[in-house]
Symmetry: C2
Subunit: 437 residues, 2 copies
């Protein structure tokens, strides 16, 4: 296998030559063989081992084992101990996902601190097929069937073309020792069932299953690539950008052969899960919205507006500003400055008469029933009416902040329009310049 592996690296991963490599090592046969192979080929390797403390004493023995291994094979070994269960509970994650997140975050830190070029993991062909079948049992789309990528940023998986059998044979033939992974069966329940009960039957049906599968994966990747091309092209026609908001043209979406399928492809990277609801948004009333972990999709007349969720605020949160404050940075950056003379205001700057203010001032979002006296106009106006006349989208309304006095009267629709009541008067002795920075 060493010669085959050498050739495989030269052909498929020539960029690894001469680079600083970090191998993720558990102590299991896959990562141990990966380490031996790169060591034999005289690559510049270091090891990184995570002790997830999930298997008590066994976890510590794994650590001891890989430290010993590193002495013969690599420049150095980094080890870390994670309180995985605690982290998982705190972040409401499964143990498996928690371990993965912790692991990759740490690798990233090591890469940055020690200038590694690539992180190598020991995933192999059987892992790839197992993942395919796990995704089949869980339900998936095409993206779940295109395999583990062999190169993903600086993560490289040089063993993906090799079977578990080849790897174990290599270890056995070369008297390489490894640690059996006796990890918690429950977290690996599905994978173990697939590994031990399904893969053997599939391999009986087709002894070259893994090779066949690798072609299948290639085919599906190519399909995914064509879909990407189509989505890229259609995005240009459907999506426009305004400030930080993406506007999806509903009429154009509805003209596509399968609007629901396109919506999924257009929005999948924004962590939505309720695809039926999103599809229904096309024909729902303005104002309806769907929230993902990270984004908000809002129906606004002929458009779906996509924006990042703003976790710092909610409509009910108010920010108080005490007398003599010079500057606030939350929820937005404003400065307050005493000036001797009023100059001409604009959308970014207003001048107010300090005597007319009542402290503490308040910065808040708009609410139903809000009204103000727009500068330059006679009388008062409902804020909702003002917004409508200005043709603000629902999202823009949501993102607008109001500067109010202690009585909750609007001084400034920030960035848009000042209120008549607090304008600088001829009699004003103290003038405050408020500006968006």
């Amino acid at each position: 296998m060493l010669q085959k592996f050498k050739k495989h690296i030269a052909v498929n991963f020539p960029f690894l030559e001469g680079k600083k490599l970090l191998i993720a090592i558990s102590g299991g046969v896959d990562s141990v063989v990966l380490t031996h192979l790169f060591s034999e080929l005289n690559f510049d390797i270091s090891l990184a081992h995570c002790n997830f403390k999930l298997r008590e004493k066994e976890s510590d023995l794994d650590e001891e084992f890989v430290i010993k291994l590193s002495q013969k094979t690599s420049n150095q070994i980094f080890t870390i101990i994670f309180n995985t269960d605690k982290f998982a509970k705190k972040n409401k994650l499964s143990t498996q996902i928690a371990a993965r997140d912790l692991r990759y975050k740490w690798f990233k830190e090591l890469v940055e601190t020690h200038n590694f070029d690539y992180v190598l993991t020991a995933h192999h062909a059987d892992d790839n097929l197992e993942t395919f079948l796990i995704n089949l049992t869980r339900g998936s789309g095409l993206d779940g069937f295109t395999g583990i990528p062999s190169v993903n940023g600086n993560i490289v998986r040089p063993l993906l073309a090799f079977s578990r059998e080849e790897i174990i044979n290599f270890a056995t033939e070369n008297n390489i020792e490894w640690r059996e992974d006796k990890s918690n069966a429950s977290t690996k329940y599905t994978r173990n069932k697939i590994r031990h009960q399904i893969l053997p039957v599939l391999k009986e049906i087709n002894p070259s299953l893994l090779e066949t599968f690798s072609n299948t994966i290639e085919n599906l990747k190519e399909s995914a690539q064509i879909i990407e091309d189509r989505i890229e092209e259609i995005s240009k026609k459907i999506i426009s950008k305004k400030n930080e908001i993406l506007r999806f043209d509903i009429i154009k979406i509805q003209q596509l052969s399968n609007p629901k399928a396109y919506l999924y492809q257009l929005l999948k990277k924004y962590h939505f899960t309720e695809w039926n609801d999103i599809y229904n948004l096309l024909s729902s009333q303005s104002g309806k919205q769907i929230i993902s972990e990270t984004h908000r999709l809002l129906k606004d007349r002929d458009f779906l507006l996509l924006s990042k969720r703003d976790f710092s605020t909610s409509p009910k949160i108010t920010f108080k500003i005490e007398k003599n404050t010079l500057e606030i940075t939350e929820p937005l950056h404003l400065s307050f400055k005493r000036v001797n003379e009023k100059s001409i205001g604009n959308k970014q700057i207003i001048y107010v008469s300090k005597e007319l203010l009542e402290f503490p001032l308040i910065v808040r979002k708009w609410e139903n029933g809000d009204y103000f006296f727009p500068a330059g106009m006679q009388g008062k106006k409902k804020l909702s009416k003002y917004f409508k006349d200005e043709k603000l989208s629902l999202l823009e309304k949501e993102q607008t902040w109001l500067l109010c006095n202690a009585k909750n009267e609007i001084i400034w629709v920030i960035g848009k329009r000042q209120d008549n009541r607090f304008l600088v008067q001829d009699t004003s002795k103290e003038i405050v310049k408020v500006s968006i920075i």
Copy 2:
């Protein structure tokens, strides 16, 4: 299940209402239950049973069984006996494929003769998943993972949303009898292994596997739809049509993100199998070609030319025309007519002096070394040079026929240019008008 089924038909197959239906029945539980269900719902059904004679006496007992069933449930039953093995051998097909071809061909005949609106088959959700896994073991692309279509032309599969378990339960609860299919295990080896060894494990992992799977299939179908859209759109830019030949612009193909993937999608319906060879054709010399069962793809400078294969001819086949023949229809339609006067010839019509001809005349394709004396020119010219000057593509050259005399001298490059040597002379007594009809 009857109520669920009734609703399922009303929602998903409303078009079946009031139509003449033909149910394909083997005698197995699936098709027997399908028959009972449609009979209970008072649809207008007839049955069609194929006796493939693959299981000797058992096959005949199946036939007896379904004939009896038809008396209680349907208008009529059509039966047919196939010598499947003989047909399979003759056509070099597997028994399974042979049986399928025979079956669907017969259904088509029945539909046409008896004016059925739809043919119903009893495929169910487990069949669908089994097919997915069979395709996984054999290797496949996306098209192998999008499931059996529930409606495909006039073939309808109303049970695709139901599991084998539901179907068997329905039969058991309603004391419905059926015939166990003890068919030749070898032809069903793979399917049986998947049915009995793999599906049960997957269902242990996920008890709602079939439901999950049906969503997966929907997702993959949607992906396939997007690919189709992309291919349709890109085809407009890449393919032009000239006569019956499709011209694929090589430079434009090479500009695509993944030319190989696109070539597959653009050409998959033409029965090619050697996709690497087709990809290599992009950069190969002019004149190289790849043949499928039905089509020919030829590299010709900046284009790939796709044409139907012409099975009636090959370069070495010649067609003889005896003296006094009035008309030939093969390899192309020509008429030979004695006329008193020469009129003006054109690409479709020539006039020759009969005295100068030597019979039998020959119609053949061109060969290396061919030359002729083009009418209206001095001297002789190599045919290859003539083709080049006329800027004929390789495919057009191949499709050109020559009319020659018994000595193999060219009289007419048919449809293109006559030869000087056989023109009508002032001294000619007998004139023959040769025309393409």
